[in-house]
């Protein structure tokens, strides 16, 4: 007989519902607006290490609502959040699922330091309060210069797994791992942070880059790397760049892996324990 039962227990799914409501109440209280942007769209992210699920005839399932939310911000939307599904091709494991729930939000006028405080407030609400430690990328893996990216990524992933127990904000990523964060005044590091809780990567945030020309350059670099690695070519999202050219207000933004947070909140160790159906 086919396996029809949920992968998570009903009790965990009820706890999950409570956490969703708690997150929404947190933002309502802070006047951060809930938005819903397309999950299926014509363009998707250019980053070489994030693969989109292609839907023939339509485009891509979105790996994050980032481009759409930034277009909303450029059009005058105040600070806002989206809590909904995101998709990443080929990611499957204890802490990964091709479909997952992402909580992503943007704060006008914040820098990444202010946003880290807000992330900590939300986590304290959902998991209970605990202290946070700050570490730099270099604290975890040493000097990144001249080291191949693959070896660095593995060293970083393993160092993060070792950050347990406890809550750690990691800052000062190498400039070439800025993604869409601003470069710090030192020219070497990016205004990017991640949160690792008990060895699990939970959040990734930026003090957002605004300059459309620098975006275009970073997309071109992504395209080169994609070509070298024989990865699918991703067209540049001109609507996103047009919005930035119009002008996106200064802001900081962060994406939280909501399922992982639920996992920690209920004391689970595998996403299967908090997803209604896995691989169904």
């Amino acid at each position: 007989m086919s396996e029809w039962r949920p992968s998570a227990s009903i009790e965990h799914l009820q706890q999950r519902a409570g956490l969703l409501a708690q997150a929404r109440a947190f933002f309502a209280q802070r006047q951060v607006v809930e938005v819903q942007t397309p999950v299926l769209a014509s363009h998707s992210v250019t980053e070489p290490d994030v693969q989109s699920v292609q839907v023939p005839g339509y485009g891509y399932l979105q790996t994050s609502p980032e481009y759409h939310i930034k277009r909303l911000l450029a059009a005058g939307m105040p600070s806002c959040y989206q809590l909904g599904p995101a998709f990443r091709h080929g990611e499957q494991g204890r802490l990964h699922n091709p479909e997952f729930t992402m909580l992503e939000w943007y704060r006008l006028g914040f820098d990444h330091h202010q946003l880290m405080h807000e992330v900590a407030d939300l986590v304290d609400l959902m998991l209970g309060p605990k202290p946070y430690q700050r570490l730099s990328y270099a604290d975890l893996v040493g000097d990144a210069k001249e080291r191949p990216r693959g070896a660095l990524d593995l060293a970083f992933a393993e160092a993060c797994e070792g950050l347990t127990p406890g809550r750690f904000f990691i800052t000062d990523y190498p400039a070439d791992q800025a993604a869409l964060a601003r470069i710090n005044p030192d020219g070497q590091t990016a205004a990017r942070f991640e949160l690792v809780i008990d060895g699990v990567e939970i959040a990734n945030g930026y003090w957002e880059l605004q300059d459309p020309e620098e975006h275009r350059q970073r997309f071109a670099t992504d395209a080169e790397v994609r070509q070298q690695r024989d990865l699918p070519r991703m067209k540049v999202d001109e609507a996103f760049l047009a919005a930035l050219t119009h002008g996106m207000p200064a802001c900081a933004g962060v994406a939280v892996g909501f399922d992982r947070l639920v996992m920690l909140a209920v004391g689970a160790s595998d996403l299967s324990q908090v997803l209604a159906f896995r691989g169904a």
Binding site: G93, G150, F156
Partner: protein, 191 residues
């Protein structure tokens, strides 16, 4: 020869690593959100039983190993090789050396069925069933009421293996059920 990509790796899959056949035990997907993806794989080297942990870039491929597990009947030993026969009525035989038979020697009884692992048709391992029944060839006569050793004694079995924890009432000629995973006495076999 076929190859497997890291995202096809499943436990129980047999692959070649550094020239030895290995059995995959675990495959963990590791990926920083903005970084490259890896697979951290635990596998048992089938030649020496050691567990290896290796990290592959996701999408990397490695060669499949031509390894199969067959149920075979144990026939006899000539002192150098242990001879097994297929159970598919082909009467085909294989000769396993001491390194393949290893600890299973303790549990081999003629005409019983064992799992023989073949790599490129050569036997590389012999695995006994979880429980075997073997005759006691030597043990001290147990005196009733003697509890100095917690009420148990050692016994030597027909294979030459000695097991501990045998109750005092067991005599030479009794057939015992033994757990091959722990090497411990389970019960007296019903005859």
């Amino acid at each position: 020869m076929a190859t497997y990509s890291t995202n096809e790796f499943r436990s129980g899959m047999k692959v070649m690593l550094d020239g030895d056949p290995c059995n995959i035990l675990e495959n963990e997907f590791v990926k920083p959100g903005k970084g490259q993806a890896f697979n951290r794989v635990k596998m048992r080297n089938l030649m020496n039983g050691r567990v290896w942990e290796r990290t592959f870039k996701s999408g990397e491929s490695i060669e499949a190993a031509d390894v199969i597990d067959l149920d075979m009947e144990y026939l006899y030993t000539d002192g150098e090789f242990w001879h097994f026969m297929k159970t598919d009525d082909s009467y085909e035989q294989v000769a396993a050396g001491a390194s393949a038979v290893a600890d299973c020697q303790n549990w081999l009884k003629e005409q019983d069925i064992y799992q023989v692992t073949l790599w490129n048709n050569d036997p590389i391992a012999v695995t006994p069933p979880n429980f075997v029944e073997l005759e006691v060839t030597d043990t001290d006569p147990g005196l009733k009421g003697d509890t100095a050793n917690g009420g148990t004694k050692p016994a030597t079995l027909s294979t030459g293996a000695t097991i501990k924890g045998v109750p005092l009432f067991i005599n030479i000629g009794d057939v015992l059920k033994v757990d091959t995973r722990t090497g411990e006495y389970v019960s007296r076999a019903k005859t």
